[in-house]
Amino acid sequence: MNKVTSLTDAVASISSGAHVALSGFAITRCAMAFAREVIRQGLTGLTISQCVGAMDADLLVGAGAVKRLIYGGGSLDRFGRLSSVNRGIEDGSLIAEEYSSLSVAFRYLAGSLGLPFLPIRSLRGSDLLSQIQERTPGDVALISDPFTGDSWLALKPLCPDVSVVQVQIADEDGNAWILGPKWDNAEQVRASQRTIVITEKIVSSEVIRQNPERTAIPGLLVSHVVELPFAAHPTSVYREYDYDAEQIGCYVEATRTPESLQQFLIETVFSVKDHWEYLEKMGGMRRLNSLRADPILGY
């Protein structure tokens, strides 16, 4: 089976209402080209999960594609908050299931190991837990340690329909390297039924086999491989390119009102036919080349 597809086909493999885990963390390695294509194709009612809310999730929420967000809080670092997510939570249009970073990671980990639950020390004594117990009581339980009798909070596994992961390098089978910190991506992928890899570059399997210890995602978990340079723009990809501060700034400005966000979506999503046209609109090679990472620094 040939897994290498266009972004259009990869997104078309996802139905409205699916649970999609995204690889972003704040403003780095976000599945941005994927999010823009989801919006173009008009998917709705998605459940999105990730340990720390990022720009990919915020854009999807702002475009009205998301019904439910399972996350551990998040921001755009010093650029600002997740304004679309926050607005959705404040006006009740978004169902937010809010945890901490580790508790979402443990829910993915439980799913990745095929375990029925995982106990955790976090969340207890907080309003995060009372909120979860009130809204989704079936996802947590207080249990006693069968060996010591101590009381523990048990978390239900979180098993997305599909993970969408932005990586630096992959081969045609989806064996993928994630360079730099991986935050929740390894557990997220393994908890999901399948994974879509969006890679800056496809290399031959021989390249992967020469340094297989770098492989974060084995191809056997991957359904689609999409090769697309600058697919995380305007967020960063470690060792590939820096975040585009100017464009993230434009996004933050645009999220101030639903109207200005709609205008932003028209300009950057709806009026461009695909990712290549988007890159041209963002300034093309001249601009993108200025974001290229220094090989020693990684940014």
Partner: protein, 254 residues
Amino acid sequence: MDFEYTPSELMAVAGARELHDRQIVAVGLGLPVVASFLAKQTHAPNMTILFELGVVDPEPIHPGVGLADPRVWYRAKQLSSFVDILGTILHKGLVDVGFLGGLETDQYGNLNTTLVGDPHGKFRHMIGSGGANDIASCARSTIIIMRHEARKLKQAISFVTSPGYITGGDSRMQAGLHGGPYRVITDKAIFGFHPETKQMMLLSIHPGNTLEDVLETMGFAPVVPEHLPFTEPPAEEQIHLIREVIDPQRMYMG
């Protein structure tokens, strides 16, 4: 004294002084980053700095816009994951100090980073937990750093994102948690916690402030000991490091 410093710089220096060599420190966003790098570059060279997303002991040479900026991952000893950092190091109990900022705290050091207003009515949603709840729940001790204002040091906070001593006394133990807040550092004073009641307790006042000023600008009454010293002012070298090396673009120091 022949040099000037800002309240933020004093906060960062006071935070750095609470950290010790060879400690393992989990660091949240903002001022804790400056304080930790300052400690590491002065009296605590063998301290280990952890960032939740999977960064062990970085040595940045350029200031970053936050934890997601590869600038703050530079020269790390290991780049891993949440499960590695927050799980196998923090959750296992190996982190000596969790270093957190926040929107609001109360007299028991409970921290809010989630929302301002009424959670069941009208509110503004902010950032949420990230790793803050995990750090506050699992670290052996936590240091909280925030501005000294009545709207931040409150009798009742809007939402407990990260537990401190919960309702005081042994309520934190009852909830199954060890550790707890150890210091609260503001731009006017340094607080600890009363050993029995777990109420916030003044330890020192920063030079240039009075006790009245400190108490008037907070929403609850802390325990005030009989002997109340002034906080040691920053050393010139510490201010130099903050301005020239750690935060030259004044991203954290405002």
